[in-house]
Every structure is written in C-alpha cells, then in structure tokens.
C-alpha cells in the first residue's frame, strides 16, 4: 500500500480532527448548494411534479449519511496514519457538503429529508468490526466511493429535472475523485478500459 499518493491537502489540515465532530445538516441553501443547484427547475418550482426527484435525492442523502459515518468510523478506529487521516477528513467534509446541499434542496422542494441513523446501525451495516488495519479502512472507503459514483450515475436517467441530473453527475465526479485517490493509495491498477463507471 502506498499512502504517499494520498497527498496532504492544506484544506484538510485546516479542517483537522475536529471536522469529524461536526454534526447536523444545514437547513437553508448554503453557498455550495446554491452553486450546485443553479438552474434546477424543480428547486425553482417550475418543473411540474417533482415528487420522484425528491425521492431520488432522499436516497442520495441516505447514501451521504452512510459515507460520512464510514469516514467517522475509520477516523475513530485509530488505524489511520496522520496523513491518511487528514485526507479522510477532507473527503468526509465533501460528503458533509453533499449532505447539506441535498438536505436543503429536498426541503426547498417540499420533501422531508431522510434522517441519519444511529452510529451503531452504520457500524453493523458496514461490518466495521472486521477492520483490522489502515488497508481495511481504505478498502472499505474505496468500495463505498466507487459504489456511490455508480449509484449517482445510475439514477441520472430517472430525474425529471435535467439540471438535477447534472447535479447527480457532479456528485458522481466527486465520488470518482475520492475512489481514484483511495485506489492509488491501495496500489490498485487504474481501469484498463474506458467507460468503466455507470452505463
């Protein structure tokens, strides 16, 4: 495993360990959400019945809750080297921004954001008791990030609002970026063929 490929970004250092302790989701549209959702007809209330779009966003929110908790479990495991922990903090902060944007959007569209489960539920669902070393944590994170990227790509055809579909593509890009860094740290080969995600 080559964790030197997980470069230490300054922003991660700024976030620090305390970043893991932040809880709660934004209730209004953050700057990130506004930028992310610019042009979305459903959010603006001009896209007709947004019902199914809200359901899709709520599943995405559930996925982001799980991702945040997965990094929390990894950070609290004591298995991560400091440099790797800093990157995990950064990736978790991305997922928190996703969560906040999705939460605010669902509320603005008249939906009820799905609640975060208890930590014990995530520990069980992710089989966290099987984590024995840093490599295990990174493998779990890589699996979840690749799965999340594919999940976002797989719901794109179902969106009524094409701008929300584009949001899903942007979220998928973030998850793919995370997967790429994690796969590099695990010394996994790059995909040999193009178009390996989604489809």
């Amino acid at each position: 495993m080559d964790t030197s490929t997980l470069l230490r970004p300054a922003s991660a250092i700024a976030v620090g360990r305390r970043g893991f302790l932040r809880t709660g989701a934004a209730t209004t549209l953050s700057a990130t959400a506004i930028a992310l959702l610019a042009g979305c007809e459903s959010v603006a209330g001009t896209g007709g019945d947004p019902g199914n779009d809200v359901a899709i966003l709520n599943v995405a929110l559930g996925l982001e809750h799980e991702a945040i908790n997965a990094y929390q479990i990894g950070a609290e495991s004591g298995l991560l080297q400091p440099a790797v922990l800093n990157v995990a903090v950064l990736f978790q902060s991305h997922h928190k921004e996703h969560r906040d944007a999705l939460t605010a959007t669902i509320r603005k569209m008249g939906g009820k954001p799905v609640a975060e489960k208890g930590k014990a539920d995530y520990v069980t669902a992710l089989n966290a008791s099987s984590l024995r070393g840093q490599g295990d944590v990174l493998k779990l994170a890589a699996r979840l990030e690749r799965g999340a990227a594919n999940a976002y790509l797989g719901v794109i055809p179902s969106f009524r609002d094409k701008a929300l579909a584009q949001v899903a593509a942007r979220l998928a890009a973030d998850e793919t970026m995370h997967w790429t860094a994690l796969a590099g740290a695990l010394s996994e080969p790059l995909p040999g063929k193009a178009l390996g995600f989604g489809a």
Partner: protein, 129 residues
C-alpha cells in the same frame, strides 16, 4: 363471415404474450461471476448481501416477496406491491423501477440487458436458487 375465430386468435395471442412477460426465463448465457463483479461496482453503494443499508439486504431476494425484509423501511408503494422477485420481475425492476412500481424510491437503472441478466444470475445464486 363470423368474427369469432379472430377474437379467439387474438385472445390466444394475448394470453401467450402475457405468459411470456410474466414468466420470461433467465438468459441461458447469464454469467453469475460477471454479475458478482457488476454487483460489487454498481450495487454496493447502497446494498449489501447481508445487511440493510440505504437499500435492503439482497441475500434471498430471488423468490422473496417485494417489500418483505424485516427491519427495512420500505416505501408504501413497495410494501403493497404484489410481486415476487423472479427473473422477469427483477429484470423489469432493474430496467426501470418506477415503471414497474410507481412511487418506489430506488430509481437506479441498469440499462444493458446483459448486465441485468448477469446481476440477476448472481442474486439468484446467492439466494440459493
């Protein structure tokens, strides 16, 4: 000339087509090993075989009634869906969940028929069927 023979023919044809839709067999060339790889990359974001996560656990899904995994919070639409997950139902579900069960929450689509067949073959195998 009586129209009755034509009516009978159309009725028979409709019955044959309906039976074909309801009991479409799994593709003979479906590959559960490839399905396992697809499951790992496409489905694992929300599902696991043995744990309820964003979506319900999948072991045993083949042959199971829709909306029946204990402890999972299904949509009302899925709870009341009178569907047993066989190859045909899973194929329609993966192709377009909202088309099969309006009001469901998944909305993830597997667009390629071959991919759906392989994933279903994997799920069938992991369900002991």
């Amino acid at each position: 000339m009586s129209k009755e023979p034509y009516r009978r023919s159309f009725a028979a044809l409709a019955a044959i087509l309906a039976a074909g839709v309801a009991s479409a067999p799994a593709r003979a060339d479906a590959d559960p090993e490839r399905g396992a790889r697809l499951y790992e990359s496409r489905c694992i974001g929300c599902h696991s075989l043995d744990a309820n996560r964003v979506g319900p656990r999948h072991r045993g899904v083949y042959g199971r009634r829709a909306g029946s995994v204990p402890g999972f919070d299904y949509s009302p639409a899925l709870k009341k869906a009178a569907i047993v997950w066989d190859a045909a139902a899973l194929d329609r579900w993966l192709a377009n969940p909202q088309s099969l069960i309006p009001g469901q929450r998944m909305n993830f689509r597997v667009t390629a028929e071959r991919d759906r067949a392989d994933i279903i073959a994997f799920l069938k195998r992991e369900s002991g069927k």
